[in-house]
Symmetry: D3
Subunit: 203 residues, 6 copies
């Protein structure tokens, strides 16, 4: 038995009819770029080990797991946007620099082609700090989706991207509630004085 | 509804009683190191988009999903090995270089502290090539677990590590069968002449 | 005439009498590590170009400039902690891996020896997002100083580190005020609908 | 006396008459990209130190040395494709992003401009594992040459690229023979139980 | 009181009237690329701690501080070249790969989009070596400015770039004088025998 | 026929009798670290394509080829220093962080475990600049060998390291002569005005 189980069903349907490798390249940043879904899921799924409160651990597990599903959606979008493209389309779209190394395979890199690095994220072992990291991460992802939407005409692409953007806003709100919960649990006058994930004074 | 669902149960139980940050640091490489579980799951879950045959797509999904569960196990091992350690233990174990940046949080890096990078893996958009990449990946993970076991005395740690090592051997065998299936599907005389994930001649 | 002028005077005095290369290595992360002063100053001094409001541009310039001074302080601490150390002390402290490549020179790397990378920071060209990034950055720096202090006995080191930590808390508060100012300027119902640093609707 | 001697003669002649910086940029990935010739030669020339059997050590030396010659060929192709290009040709080809940092010099980077990193390769100190790594590497290089050939019209370029591609297929076969030899030498029932490069039980 | 103070005045005025995101992208390499101004200032401001002679320490401080001002100038150039650009201009200029991750914000990366890394620079803790590093750095920056100028028609851009290029030549000359001073201070027959920044024999 | 031929003979004999993994780890930086032999050979062998004068092209080929031989020597030193080490010796030497990922195999990384990156080197396509880069590179390698020698007691190790250090000094002198030749060839008054590797005015 494994801890995650996979269901062959996207959280939101992706059915793109028109090939567009130029757009695929931009959207790739939400796969393996600085504020993309790989970074998101790794951030939350890593932070949760040291998160001291059960509700917050659960929050990180829930959102981290959902981001895995978003990663699948983004991958499906890129895949469908590059399906069946011709060599001429590849060259015209400037997709050749990606293609030479990965053909039409999905690889975790930014729009510029920089391989994903965990340097984009932090897991600091301090609940207050990690939740701030998470709030910032959701805003960064939201901005990236905003930027992607500026280049999208095709509603087949725009709709799932809007769905993904909307989810980042929801996650932002949930992390905001999580931060409130975490600060409430901390004895007010000790606010910056110790770390409930490492120090022993609090449960 | 999300595509992965999480069950609060490890594939193999991890119940470590004795803190050991020195060992934790070594095992960290199977979390975010060159041949660790993050790389494994990203590799398989990324490759599957362009994989042309349903059986092989399914194989990559299954193993990629299982590796997510293994990532959770490795994280749990590291977390339990560093739980409740004192500053003295941290210094003695040489864990201070990690601790200063991540406290006792889990962060995706190698034993040496290099943040995980997708440069460790490839998704080449060519089924024969990707399956060779996967066979090599499983052997590399197997060797890492072999090396970890040389440093482990505690059966609470050795048992789940042995389980994880054993799974890599099983995955290796399954990818071997996958490669046979993929080559059978290719018209023999065209073996190296085209790529069924990109070229149109074959289904 | 240049835009920054240098005054030969630290913001807070650093006068360390006792060599301690082991501690120097840990503190190095606040020079070139993931949440260190190089990243801080680069983040703020880069973000300010696209920041739309004069007060916020000024805030980023002020704090970014102050972080340059903190970088100098951290460099001075590391330099003084490694001054005059013997080869025996280097080996005993595990400082040899750093020493072979940089002798006793100051080089921008984390405690683990990973060269500084701008992947640690983001400049997103969106004021709301950048200010969240900055709030998170200050919390991450604060936690790093907390962690450093766990290893420090020498008051000659502890005092300037405490001063630096305290400044991060002040910066955090100032960025909090900045975020309030930025959200107030945004038309409430458009909150997430456009980016005042790029879109033209607002001044 | 040095261990390698250089002969001013390419393994296969490179005589390109027509400048083509756009194509040069794609081919650059076989110089310093993820599956290029620098990675190939470093992989084999590094692995051979710990390879336990003389035949396999010799195999790695032979192929590693040949890849150095291929690196020279790829460099010559890129050099000849960018020789005498005008500023207009540079801009039209999108070569300006490379040119600004390296003029028309040859620099080890991928088509996307990412500097070569050894994270692309592994030297695991385990003969079975290293040979799997090598088989995968040859398939990845083969796919890259396949992809390059999709963009090449000029026979002056296509011919040496086809030669290089053919050599990867030959190396793949030789590593396959090497793997057979290595597994034969291992006592069957111990197959996964120890590492002849580190453990002492076998010669 | 902080060690650097900022004056709201560029060393050389930057007043660009015509948007040009294509050119902005090339110039970006002097912000965060391999031989850009971030690397320059970090190199000199880091090396100066271990530099043994007061004149040379002062030289590094002066030039390092001036480079911070150049960084500001380069940032201002990029900012003004991308100010008010439309989505159509972004796409036509190939600026979309940068834009998706940073909107029109300034981020420390090379023209190809690779985040700045301190691997571009060295601080070796040896005065003779560090000054050679600095001479090379100034030549590399000079060549980059030469290359940028090949793409610039607009005198609003060319003038500040020429100013920056000229300063690199001046810095080169000053480091040449610094090297002469450093070698004169070394006892001739010990030239390569010890390191005045680490060994104790010389003051 | 290949362009390099390998002779099974080191430029200087390496016969180390005493295992010393702690020292091996330090010396590793001259294999794959910032100023090591991989960087050296890649730098010279890459720069030579665009180097305009036959003597200088030949110089780069000669020294680049010799550095390949030095890489082999450094690899042999590391291999012999780690041959036959026990698990206890590995742990005591702090070699476990390397061992977990590479067993006793030779892998291109720095002493701190950072994989080799071409960001350490530059190939600028400008002869004056490239020769300055090379002079700096030789000084940096010389300092690294100086630093290694501070940790070496065993004459079996010290002798080949001294030989390698001496060769860097010779290369430095030869690059100095090369720079004189290159500047003599340039029309004096045009010294900084054009680049003979790219511009057409000079042969």
């Amino acid at each position: 038995m494994s801890m995650w189980t996979y269901q062959k069903k996207l959280q939101y349907p992706v059915k793109i009819k028109k090939t567009n490798p130029k757009l695929a390249q931009i959207i790739a940043s939400q796969y393996g770029g600085p504020d993309g879904e790989i970074g998101a899921s790794l951030r939350y799924l890593s932070q949760r080990f040291a998160m001291p409160h059960a509700e917050l651990k659960g929050l990180l597990t829930d959102i981290g797991t959902e981001e895995l599903g978003h990663l699948e959606m983004v991958g499906a979008i890129i895949y469908q946007l590059t399906r069946g493209m011709s060599v001429e389309e590849i060259e015209k779209a400037g997709f050749d620099k990606y293609f030479v190394d990965h053909t039409a395979g999905i690889y975790p890199a930014s729009a510029s082609g920089v391989p994903f690095t965990a340097a984009y994220l932090q897991s600091k072992g301090d609940p207050i700090t990690d939740l701030h990291e998470d709030l910032a991460a959701e805003q960064k992802a939201r901005t990236t989706y905003d930027n992607i939407l500026r280049f999208v005409d095709d509603p087949d692409v725009a709709d799932p991207i809007k769905f993904l953007r909307e989810r980042e806003v929801v996650h932002y709100q949930r992390f905001g509630e999580g931060l409130r919960l975490a600060t409430d649990r901390l004895n007010a006058k000790n606010f910056y004085a110790f770390n409930p994930a490492f120090d022993k004074q609090i449960k």
